[in-house]
Symmetry: C2
Subunit: 188 residues, 2 copies
DNA sequence: ATTATCTATAGATCTATAGATAATGC
DNA sequence: ATTATCTATAGATCTATAGATAATGC
């Protein structure tokens, strides 16, 4: 039954990865500890050897998801430094992202859950948000103050556009919401 | 125990109102049928005489919340037809709205829950979203196509800005997110 | 000897239903 | 007679813990 220290650390990482995916797919209250552990190939009794509580795991899962997102943004911006906003918007506001919440932006899928969670969870997200805003503001041309305002408003438009596109019932409207937000950000 | 038909209809409305508030505050899975009924001054056994299921109530609560929001937007736009976007943005992206999710925008607080819910729930929201977009697009100057794109991107920025401002841990950053998004929409 | 994981369970909660009760509406 | 609400409960699920097991690490 017992595994090596190394294997235990890998197991722990796998629990966080599974949680990061399933929380984003089903919401924090939409998946239980037992199913998370099953997803990682373990039984649920072992959970509390790795984490203090389910909310503790949420904080770690959010931290990992947003860190991954920061790296993704960095690569996108480096790939197309002349049009960072268009590059990010086209990828963020894609049908693929809309239909893959489990691997997508943690704010668009768990933002309200995080808002209702404890401070440690919110703190885990905030660092990544700041990093992404700083990164985007630096990549935008013009006065620093104006660039930062544009970075914030553009980030907000991407998140809101994705939340809307996922929530509506009408497939044509959903596509229009994505396309219109991209178009507006491309010309901004 | 039994009440009049009229009183029963009022009770039903009160259940929907309580649900619209508590779902937005605590999330769909964050509040149970028993507590919703208690909030309406009833016992939980009576719930299923009024609704087929908890998700059925979610659909009604979303419909009522978004309908109220549509009316709110109409009044705001009528009050300041020369600057509909600034008028809406300053109210939507206020600290008061941020700190009062239970009475606020249903998309910013329940968007991801709705995305994970069944079609009837999503359908209940979609009508209101269309109404708000049409209303805002009509109120904006310029070519109709461009006005609609701006309406969509502005709506998205408001929702995303509020979700972000609620999710972060840092009060200064939260304020900046609201203010920067407002400023950007005012000059747009 | 230590410890990562397991089985089993406590205790609380959840949605939904069954059947009793008592007031309305005919 | 009908029905809105009540009490009580079924059956499933939830988070968290206790204690056993068996392999690691000294």
């Amino acid at each position: 039954m017992r595994v090596s220290r190394e294997q235990a650390a890998l197991n722990r990482e796998r629990i966080v990865d599974v949680a990061a995916k399933l929380f984003r797919e089903k919401g924090y209250d939409g998946i239980g500890v037992a199913d998370l552990m099953k997803g990682a190939g373990l039984t649920h009794g072992g959970f509390y050897g790795h984490f203090e509580s389910k909310e503790d795991l949420l904080a770690e899962a959010c931290a990992k998801a947003i860190a991954y997102s920061v790296e993704h943004w960095r690569r996108r911006i480096d790939r197309n430094p002349g049009d960072p906003l268009g590059e990010l918007a086209r990828s963020y506001l894609s049908e693929m992202h809309r239909d893959n919440a489990g691997a997508g932006c943690v704010i668009a899928s768990l933002g309200p859950d995080v808002a209702r969670a404890g401070k440690p969870v919110q703190h885990a997200l905030t660092g990544g948000v700041k990093a992404q805003l700083d990164m985007l503001a630096q990549a935008l041309p013009g006065e620093p103050e104006e660039a930062r305002r544009r970075a914030i408003a553009s980030y907000a438009a991407m998140i809101g556009g994705l939340v809307l596109a996922r929530a509506v019932d009408d497939p044509e409207l959903s596509k229009e919401l994505l396309a219109a937000t991209v178009a507006q950000l491309e010309q901004a």
